[in-house]
């Protein structure tokens, strides 16, 4: 792609798919963890962009503009998804014993001897997929809190507002999410490195 094309919007929306499809899809997949949902959201975003393409200002790049539209679609998706999720209250999360610990707060199974290594794992497609699968397996609100905090880098305060819970409960959610994710990766990816003495 020539450099000066970055803020030129092609007349053919098929070209948008070729140029920005992979990026937008990866973006949506990381946030949702679901390939079908991610694909639908990208298509919705591009259709919306097509309708609104007169609004595209050359001040931003096409990529930035399309990503902004995709972000709106993601927010809509989350709003719908969490509307009927009152059952998964934070009280339930806090009151449910964490199966990783016994009643005295000791580890049930000794944690494995591993770490996510930038050189080894960051550029590995299978690892991203295993990671996203583990995030997706979390209870929905924990998954959302985790993604917002660790991937989007949103402040805890904003996450609490978004999920309509107190700061303390927010910490509980994040703590549970992190430990559950750690456990999931250990079982599914680092299984050969478990059971250190």
């Amino acid at each position: 792609m020539p450099h000066n094309d970055a803020n030129r919007l092609s007349d053919d929306p098929g070209v948008w798919v070729d140029r920005y499809g992979d990026y937008l899809y990866g973006y949506a997949l990381i946030k949702t963890g679901d390939p079908t949902v991610a694909e639908d959201l990208v298509q919705e975003a591009l259709l919306a962009a097509l309708k609104a393409r007169k609004d595209f200002k050359k001040r931003s790049t096409v990529k930035t503009w399309l990503t902004a539209i995709l972000k709106h679609k993601l927010m809509d998706y989350y709003r719908k998804k969490y509307r009927n999720r009152e059952t998964e209250s934070v009280d339930t999360v806090a009151a449910t014993p964490d199966p990783q610990f016994n009643r005295r707060g000791q580890w049930q199974v000794k944690p494995g001897n591993w770490i996510i290594d930038p050189a080894e794992h960051y550029a590995q497609k299978e690892f991203i997929q295993a990671f996203l699968k583990c995030v997706d397996d979390l209870p929905p609100r924990q998954a959302r809190a985790f993604t917002m905090r660790e991937i989007d880098g949103v402040s805890t305060k904003e996450i609490c507002k978004h999920l309509a819970i107190s700061t303390t409960n927010c910490w509980v959610m994040l703590h549970r999410a992190r430990l559950a994710l750690r456990h999931c990766l250990e079982l599914n990816w680092f299984k050969d490195q478990t059971g250190s003495p």
Partner: protein, 98 residues
């Protein structure tokens, strides 16, 4: 009072996690440090949680990784292009021609 938690891995892990979201009081930071000196498991888990956090930031930031690592399936790409071009063709001339 807080020292009753010194041998409680679950409680220490809760503090470690909260410490990733906000600054902990000195007392709790000391508790964590003391516990980690005695507990290999929690030392390991703390390192794992930190690496998890770094990985999340990497996923949230590195655009090149997204381009290369999670591409659209060829079939999805085709379907999407067809759908978009169809929508484009159905638009009234005045809107479609800019």
């Amino acid at each position: 009072m807080m020292f009753k938690w010194i041998f409680n891995c679950q409680e220490i892990n809760r503090m470690i996690s909260v410490g990733m979201d906000t600054e902990l009081p000195l007392m709790q930071r000391m508790l964590i440090r003391l516990h980690l000196m005695m507990c290999r498991s929690c030392t390991q888990v703390r390192a794992q949680l930190i690496s998890l956090n770094a990985y999340g930031r990497f996923l949230g930031s590195d655009e090149a990784a997204l381009d290369n690592l999670l591409p659209l399936a060829p079939e999805s790409r085709r379907r999407m292009k067809t759908r978009l071009r169809q929508a484009r063709a159905e638009m009234p001339e005045s809107v479609a021609d800019i």
